[in-house]
């Protein structure tokens, strides 16, 4: 059901639906944010990491004597030294182990081999050149296909029982039913495509300041962390420190996008060094370190098949995946799902059968597999189905919009059980697509596309009608490293009616200090300016799994609404006491209780708050506060339709966006301005991946894309302009009907751009170009010429 949301509160109160300006901005626009690298502690030492120059090799010897003798160097740490403390290896978020500092082999270029701790960061880096490592070079495996060839060198020879380079195998759906659907098909359309390796590349790199008190053993770990509570627990497990002695503080975060979900070797080494030396140790990555060693994303080789009827209905989907995991299987994803939530790949379409198989291979590349602005591989899933659907429409001789409208799940089918087991909460896909078509004048562009272009340019129109699955968990199905995917909110109302809200999630730019205060404003009528939102300090916030996979609003946002409602119920009793009325006789309006039928006889929430500490009835506990742990009944399913028009120059293969509309439905929008900011950013990242942004390797495993000269991210000059639209289909199970939006546009838009390019080239026989759709690839496809990747 599409609705529009009318704010229930006045603008100054700033409840749900108001585009109030962000509270956090005042410090950022004055240079007064406090990011990790801004932290200076007395006596603080600095760490630099020596990394492997080769992709695969056995370590024969490490000589650190010259580095140790350098003025200002306090210690040089090697894997052997860590091994003496049981810290040479650490668990990954997917149940594998990862080297902290290499002891036996290096398995990718950029892998951590040794670390220098010095009094000055320049000295620490200088001293790296005084460490001499002898390697016996081994063949580098640079693709998953190569990894699975018979006789391929074993990358994980240290791993017990590991006899090949397979990291995992996994499947979902119903094979027999899918085979049956394909047997009935009039037509089968297939697509093979590689979703290339990418990197979230937040503008702030990763870092740590580890401060272990030598007298008490208490560790304060300042960390660029999207998940500070989970990291505290993992630190306790990895380092064997008592959890009450670990305080993780995630300060202002300069963008995360999934990059700041894993625990990286540098964090562990710095913490161990602080513990052993008794002084604070800071480590901040350089950009190159960030790009070559931390949290890559995607790298899925995908094969998809759609079974179709001649009249344009989808009967079934087969998908098989070969994923390039790098040297360690370190996907940040729920335990039960080995290829993330890729099995959402049936997308927005209603058909009976699907079967998905996935296999991951170890290669000599950095580990990661983080969900880059994405809910656990939903981006790859959305890309595959949206590319397949377009090709299917053309093979059937249908318009791709018409084909989608014919196959969409219909509004009355929700809640909808997908063939791979997801229960879609709500949706109205037809309305979103029709709205996008109207906004961009789809029919008009189709006509213009047929007209001869004065300069010989080619026009392409691409659609993507994505459905996401976000907001993990429920706890029955979703955990990471055993930690159930709940989140929590603690809300305290002070005597003067101001409030503090403490959360287990952590903003990295999403604007939590504003939007979560708006939820409190909505539920309690306390102006959003009066609600301080605190996140990131594990000593002062309740437990939570953190901010990624668009889960803050679906989970912590729900927890906030629930705890605020619980507090309102207590406030009602206090108000009844103050008004000498029965609680049942009180009415609520934003910020005030009044006696039913006597609107003048009332008390404000501020008066009630004061009474909670000064004039509470006998038998009632003092105070006005609460904490709630929210376990979502289901995931949420944001969706939308994006349409992009591109113009291709056949002379050189370049393409540009002429127009783009994005109609998003993320349920109820807490702050429309912030939602649109998220969408615009995501559309730009989607464009980046479609157009320019990827990480690749040469045949020796050297990373190409190790800096912003080679790893191209768009500037204001390249970034397209967008026009945004919305529909509102509330989530029926979320307390405020919100679904989450931070990743929708990154998930949905890449297929729209690529579909537009292929749309322009279809009549020339082009069926696919892998991302990034670089000019030489377009030119090669147009001219039937094989080009370098």
């Amino acid at each position: 059901m599409t609705t529009t949301h009318q704010p229930a509160t006045p603008f100054e109160m700033g409840g749900i639906g108001h585009s109030v300006r962000r509270k956090e901005d005042d410090r950022f626009i004055q240079g007064a944010g406090r990011y990790l690298d801004d932290i200076q502690l007395p006596g603080m030492l600095h760490m630099a990491i020596l990394r492997s120059p080769i992709a695969h090799g056995r370590i024969l010897s490490i000589d650190t004597s010259e580095a140790e003798a350098t003025d200002g160097v306090v210690a040089v740490v090697t894997g052997e030294m860590l091994a003496a403390h049981g810290l040479a290896w650490m668990p990954t978020l997917s149940g594998d182990t990862q080297a902290v500092l290499a002891t036996d082999k290096v398995r990718y270029q950029g892998q951590e081999v040794a670390a220098v701790i010095a009094t000055d960061p320049y000295v620490a880096r200088d001293a790296l050149s005084g460490i001499f490592v002898d390697y016996e070079e081994l063949p580098a495996i640079t693709s998953p296909q190569q990894a699975l060839e018979p006789g391929a060198v074993l990358i994980r020879d240290e791993k017990e029982g590991q006899t090949d380079n397979v990291a995992y195998t996994w499947e979902a759906g119903d094979k027999a039913a899918t085979d049956e659907a394909f047997a009935k098909a009039d037509l089968v359309v297939t697509l093979d495509t590689h979703y290339p390796r990418s990197h979230p590349a937040p503008l702030e790199t990763c870092g740590v300041v580890a401060d272990v008190n030598p007298a008490t053993g208490e560790a304060t770990i300042y960390l660029t962390s999207q998940a500070p509570h989970a990291h505290r627990t993992l630190f306790a497990i990895v380092a064997g420190l008592p959890e009450e002695k670990i305080r993780v503080v995630s300060p202002d975060i300069g963008g995360g996008f999934g990059n700041k979900v894993p625990i990286y070797p540098g964090y562990v080494v710095a913490t161990a060094a602080s513990l052993l030396i008794g002084k604070p140790v800071k480590w901040v990555e350089s950009r190159s370190e960030n790009l070559i060693s931390t949290g890559f994303a995607r790298d899925f080789h995908m094969h998809g098949e759609l079974a179709l009827t001649a009249d344009g209905r989808i009967l079934g989907l087969r998908a098989s995946i070969l994923s390039d995991q790098g040297a360690f299987y370190a996907d940040a994803q729920p335990t039960r799902f080995r290829a993330g939530l890729f099995h959402i790949c049936t997308g927005s379409y209603d058909f009976g059968a699907a079967h998905v198989t996935a296999k991951g291979a170890f290669t000599n590349k950095a580990p990661g597999g983080v969900a880059y602005r994405c809910s656990f591989r939903v981006t790859e899933a959305s890309y595959l189905i949206e590319r397949l659907v377009q090709n299917a429409a053309y093979e059937l001789g249908m318009d791709p919009a018409e084909f989608r409208l014919k196959n969409f799940i219909r509004p009355e089918q929700f809640p909808y059980l997908s063939p791979t087991g997801f229960v879609y909460d709500s949706g109205d896909y037809h309305t979103a697509l029709r709205k996008a078509m109207e906004m961009i004048d789809y029919e008009g562009w189709r006509r213009r596309q047929q007209e001869p272009h004065p300069e010989g340019k080619l026009i392409g129109i691409g659609i993507a009608s994505f459905t996401e699955v976000v907001g993990a968990g429920n706890s029955r199905t979703y955990d990471i490293a055993g930690l159930k995917m709940i989140d929590s909110a603690e809300l305290r109302i002070h005597p003067t009616g101001k409030a503090i809200l403490k959360l287990g999630v952590k903003s990295q730019g999403q604007g939590h200090e504003t939007t979560f205060a708006q939820i409190v404003a909505e539920e309690l009528g306390i102006p959003f300016e009066d609600v301080k939102v605190q996140e990131g300090d594990t000593d002062n916030t309740p437990y939570g799994l953190g901010t990624y996979a668009s889960r803050s609003t679906p989970v912590a946002g729900a927890a906030t609404a629930v705890v605020a409602r619980q507090i309102r119920e207590k406030a009602r009793k206090l108000a009844a006491h103050l008004l000498e009325a029965s609680p049942d006789d009180l009415e609520w309006e934003p910020g005030r209780f009044f006696v039913r039928g006597v609107p003048d006889k009332g008390v404000t929430i501020q008066e009630v708050a004061f009474a909670a500490y000064t004039n509470f009835p006998e038998g009632m506990e003092a105070g006005l506060e609460g904490v709630h742990y929210y376990d979502p009944p289901n995931m949420t399913y944001p969706f939308g339709s994006y349409i992009v028009v591109v113009e291709i120059d056949p002379e050189d293969g370049t393409w540009k966006v002429l127009d783009m509309v994005a109609v998003d439905d993320c349920g109820v929008r807490i702050n429309p301005m912030i939602v649109e900011g998220q969408i615009t950013g995501g559309l730009t990242e989607g464009f980046a991946k479609a157009n320019m942004q990827w990480i690749t390797f040469d045949e020796n495993g050297n990373c190409i894309g190790s800096n912003f000269l080679d790893y191209l991210v768009p500037t204001a000059w390249e970034a397209p302009r967008f026009r945004l639209g919305e529909t509102v289909t509330p989530s029926p199970h979320h307390p405020i009907g919100a679904k989450g939006v931070g990743e929708s546009a990154t998930v949905g838009s890449p297929a729209a751009y690529v579909n537009a390019v292929i749309d322009a080239l279809w009549s020339k026989g082009v069926r696919n170009i892998d991302m990034p759709v670089l000019p030489h690839r377009v030119w090669g496809a147009l001219n039937g010429v094989e080009v370098a990747p």
Partner: protein, 160 residues
Amino acid sequence: MEVEVTVNGVAYRRDTEPRRLLVDFIRTELGLTGTHIGCDTTSCGACTVLFDGVPVKSCTMFAVQADGHELTTVEGLRRNGELSPVQAAFKEHHGLQCGFCTPGMMLVATALLSSNPDPTEEDVRWALSGNICRCTGYTNIVEAIRSAAATMHETAGVES
């Protein structure tokens, strides 16, 4: 080596290593941490400061090169207790999310508006093309800067 530099109108004299990068000097020796470091290759612009009014990337200059010059960092944008029009517009138009690129963006914008008080969208985008933002998609940054230009016109009109 001794360096004398005026930053945000305050004169500093410091003894620093010849190889110390200007950005490290500003952040560590002067304690002005609003200037950020985002890359190693002069690509991202997070470290942008104004050098005698001209935007430079302070990760690609030595501190000693600033000897005798005037710098403006983000901490110097606020004047007489008031946000500059560029700062105010960034907040009003949601021109920032994580805030890490924001100081560099605002300094480029400030320099642009001082030389081109009425920039077109193309002018703004070209001026920003040495600065990377990973959050916003730039739309609101461009809007903020054009709005700041309009505000500065109005203010100038009132004053004259």
